[in-house]
Symmetry: C2
DNA sequence: CTTAGTGCAAAGCTTTTGCACTGCA
DNA sequence: TGCAGTGCAAAAGCTTTGCACTAAG
């Protein structure tokens, strides 16, 4: 058993939740696709390879659970699906919903979150609005696509 | 006829589209609710007061049209509805998808866009990603809610 | 007159829910 | 063994689409 699995089981137990094969299997898919933004349908298709009898509703419920436990992040890329990505795998601080979306190839890149600190401070001072979470989407053209067009 | 209506009619004609009462009526609702983020259902309810025989499908089609003509902005506040707001009514530069969403009362405030310029410049330099549009959502607690809690 | 636009109803989509069954603790 | 969790199918809710009809140009 990997250390992520042990950690996951502990969290489930701490919340009085049961450890099931389905939950382990879904988390495993997120681990195998770190950095990728998966729709529930995509997760379902992946999980079925290892666990063919799983139901779509279970995947929906598990994904909601993982999101509430803050083990995965919810991302809306406005493509008609709600997407999720694993958030705490890499050593660095968890990057929170910051995405570069290429309008040409559709690729999604991530970038760090510290760049917004001064902005949030300014908003607090001028508007009295206390920011506790943020979601930033930047649309444009990635390096590859720009090079291919030239 | 207001100057916004003349402008709208010109745009429709320039695109080879017909000027219909329904389209005028929907635009009128956006004008009356400048700064508000309306769902299609809400727009439908408002329009029906002036134009009871309008159909929901027409509102959906009109809103898509207005969005393509860049007369309104599409906003997704993750509440299950796609929302729209009029974008070019005030004299200032059009504020592009920048929202402060209060987690307590649900109120949505807007803020200016120039604050992101340095961030985008940095991204271009370091990642080679050219940003052409952006969408920023900041979640937190607004002044009112913070004062009421104390 | 021609055909884009409309209204209605049906269908399409993702997501949620009810309920009997299963399996973890 | 008891009850949380699951699987299936049905339902829900937003949005789109097909089609006959209406009205703008």
């Amino acid at each position: 058993m990997t250390k992520e699995q042990s950690y996951f089981k502990k969290i489930l137990k701490d919340h009085g939740l049961k450890v099931t094969n389905q939950r382990i299997a879904v988390l495993e898919i997120f681990k195998e696709h770190s950095g990728v933004h998966l729709s529930v349908e995509e997760i379902y298709d992946f999980v079925k390879k290892d666990y063919p009898e799983i139901g779509l509703a279970t995947v929906y419920r598990t994904v909601q659970l993982l999101s509430e436990l803050e083990l995965i992040d919810k991302v809306n890329l406005d493509d008609g699906y709600v997407r999720y990505e694993i958030g705490v795998m890499d050593g660095e601080k968890s990057h929170h919903h910051h995405h570069l979306i290429c309008l040409s190839c559709g690729e999604v890149f991530a970038f760090g979150e510290d760049m917004l600190d001064s902005l949030e401070e300014h908003i607090d001072k001028t508007l009295g609005f206390k920011v506790v979470d943020h979601q930033v989407k930047l649309f444009g053209y990635c390096k590859n696509c720009r090079e291919n067009e030239n």
